[in-house]
């Protein structure tokens, strides 16, 4: 187990380092960085060079860059809010994005598991085909199309929800965004739970439990659910990616002031410091979540850690 943990941690660390290298290289190529701004005076340039160590050899610069990034110093924004530290810019917007992502993820997964379980229990019935269709649509229809449809129908035509985010109505103005984000995790979780549950329900220990006279609800909710839910962890990676990608589009559509919207603003206004910092944060979050789930999975399912994590 310890070997497995060490291996996972090292791979995650190398991944993070790779990303920092990529970001550092990008920084050298990005046009219009503050370092080559023509309006800089010599004094400003000298102080910038001293701060970021631009007069030092490239590898020294890289070490400084790594140190800065790991201590949360992402430099300053240069067009969204000029000279304002990127880290504060991000900190302000972090909470709402996390809230939205968690809301959507939790609601989606819970609904998906319920749908998947029900459709497995009534295999080939009406609910089953409905779930198959819904999860197919949910997994393939892009969240921006869903979100735009919802905005148009529920917010504009029916007037049920506010069109854009209002800070004083945190629930109703994120409701539509949450729904459109939650569809994808729901679809993935439903499809996975259904297939897994079908397999579990036909296994011998379930037949045994039923033969022993365990009440049906207990067989389903406790005996079957346990083994259905553990492998669900493996679907977390596509779900997290889906939530990250979706949140950018959806925060933009609903004008939710989160980091996804900030990322898009950074790209459209050529504020590369913001883009690179957020890229780092997204990657770090993703790597962190994957590390935790891999380790958790290793703890829960001994087959994984015994053969060294080969899936």
């Amino acid at each position: 187990m310890l070997k497995y943990v060490i291996k996972r941690v090292i791979i995650s660390a190398v991944t993070l380092l790779t990303i920092i290298v990529v970001l550092f290289v990008m920084l050298q190529f990005m046009p219009g960085s503050p370092f080559n701004n023509e309006r800089l005076t010599d004094v400003q340039r000298a102080s910038l060079e001293a701060k970021y160590g631009l007069d030092k050899p490239l590898w020294r610069q890289f070490v400084i860059y790594v140190k800065n990034i790991l201590t949360g110093d992402f430099g300053v924004s240069y067009s969204i809010q000029a000279n304002y530290p990127v880290s504060s810019l991000i900190a302000n917007k972090f909470q709402i994005s996390i809230q939205l992502g968690l809301q959507a993820g939790i609601i989606g997964i819970l609904l998906g598991v319920a749908l998947g379980a029900v459709s497995a229990l009534f295999h080939n019935g009406f609910i089953d085909s409905l779930t198959t269709v819904v999860s197919m649509i949910g997994a393939s229809v892009p969240s921006q199309v869903l979100a735009l449809g919802l905005v148009y129908v529920a917010a504009y035509k029916l007037g049920l929800f506010p069109l854009v985010y209002k800070p004083d109505m945190p629930i109703s103005s994120t409701a539509l965004a949450t729904i459109s984000l939650a569809i994808f995790p729901m679809a993935i979780a439903a499809r996975f739970t259904r297939n897994e549950m079908l397999e579990v329900m036909s296994s011998q220990y379930i037949t045994f439990a039923e033969a022993k006279g365990v009440p049906r609800w207990r067989v389903i909710c406790i005996h079957a659910m346990k083994n259905t839910l553990v492998p669900l962890i493996t679907t977390l990676s596509p779900i997290v990616i889906g939530l990250m990608t979706g949140s950018m589009v959806i925060e933009n559509i609903f004008s939710i002031p989160g980091i996804g919207k900030l990322f898009i603003m950074g790209i459209t206004s050529n504020d590369y410091n913001v883009v690179l910092s957020l890229s780092f944060i997204f990657s770090a979050m993703f790597i962190g979540i994957m590390l935790v789930t891999d380790l958790l999975y290793g703890v829960i399912d001994p087959r994984i850690r015994l053969n060294g994590g080969a899936k």
Binding site: S12, T15, I137, V141, L148, Y152, I264, I267, V275, S283
Partner: protein, 328 residues
């Protein structure tokens, strides 16, 4: 004695019937065409391909023909307009009469620069499909080459290559894709290259796993004993056996690439104007969604249907070609 016993009814007819020996592709088509959803999806995809090729020729307009006097015309289609839909009215006004285009028909309407949206839509489908197809091909080429080498040689190189893939896998696609497109400048080529580069790890893993299994089989051992060169073994003996699973995984990556393009369009890194893709059309329509909903709805609906069709086709192909890949 014998009259008390009789042979159990043996269906001699069935036993003697020679098993039909259909070629592999015929069998695949047979299984695929039994799947109703996949056939419908395939028909829809064919329709989109035909539109992408022939649409701009029949529409009579160009995708970049700007004509400000006819901006934001709603859809109007010959014949159907008598039914009260697609008749070119917005509210109660016939915009075509109002703008002096009484004799014209824009099937999907026009955008804010007066460009024909049907022609733009067809060009958009074309670019989206090209992006999907070529990046799937790239993904296949890189993934197969990497997986074959890694699986066949094993040992140190394999270990290194596997760690490399694990590291790549840890980087979220959206980060790598947006950063690469920023550096390469937005455009069709850069999107294709990025998507090809971002997606191949799954293919490589699959190919490696299959190669590990296949290199121990008799026919590979026999070829090796006969002194066949490694390249020949890889491409004559191993590759044909994993072709079907590679086709499936490549097909499954097509909607992913098209989706990523739409995402990039939304982020402002998509196909630059006047060129169009499905994603950029949706994004353009979104800017004036409340005033002219048709500009967004039509491409969005077709986009959703196309994604659905591609996913269903992918599932159908997988069931027909390589059922072992069935998972989430």
């Amino acid at each position: 004695m014998t009259d008390r016993f009789a042979f159990a009814a043996r269906d001699n007819a069935a036993a003697d019937k020679p098993v039909e020996n259909k070629p592999r592709w015929a069998e695949t088509i047979a299984v695929f065409s039994k799947n109703k959803g996949a056939v419908i999806g395939f028909a829809f995809l064919l329709l989109m391909i035909i539109l992408a090729i022939a649409g701009p020729m029949v529409s009579g307009y160009t995708y970049d023909g700007i004509e400000l006097s006819r901006q934001n015309l709603p859809p109007r289609i010959q014949g159907i307009e008598r039914l009260g839909i697609f008749n070119g009215t917005l509210g109660d006004r016939n915009m075509y009469e109002a703008k002096g285009y009484g004799g014209s028909y824009f099937w999907f309407g026009t955008d804010k620069l007066g460009r024909d949206l049907f022609t733009r839509f067809c060009c958009g489908v074309r670019i989206s499909l090209i992006i999907g197809a070529i990046s799937a091909l790239l993904n296949m080429i890189i993934g197969v080459a990497f997986g074959l080498v890694s699986g066949y040689y094993g040992g140190k190189p394999d270990l290194l290559m596997q760690r490399f893939i694990e590291v790549l896998n840890g980087i979220p696609t959206l980060v790598i894709v947006s950063l690469l497109v920023i550096v390469l400048k937005p455009g069709m080529m850069s999107i294709i290259i990025t998507m090809g580069l971002a997606q191949w790890t799954g293919t490589a893993r699959l190919v490696r796993a299959n190669t590990l299994r296949l290199k121990e089989t008799e026919h590979v051992l026999a070829s090796k004993t006969l002194g066949t060169s490694t390249v020949k073994i890889l491409f004559r003996e191993i590759f044909p056996n994993l072709l079907s699973s590679v086709i499936v995984i490549a097909m499954m990556s097509v909607p992913g690439a098209i989706f990523m393009e739409a995402f990039l369009s939304f982020v402002g890194l998509g196909i630059p104007n006047p060129e169009a893709s499905l994603g950029s059309l949706i994004n353009d329509g979104y800017q004036s969604m409340l005033l002219y909903p048709f500009q967004m709805t039509i491409p969005a609906v077709f986009f959703a249907l196309l994604m659905l069709a591609l996913n269903i086709i992918g599932d159908g192909l997988r069931d027909a070609l390589d059922p072992t890949q069935r998972q989430i």
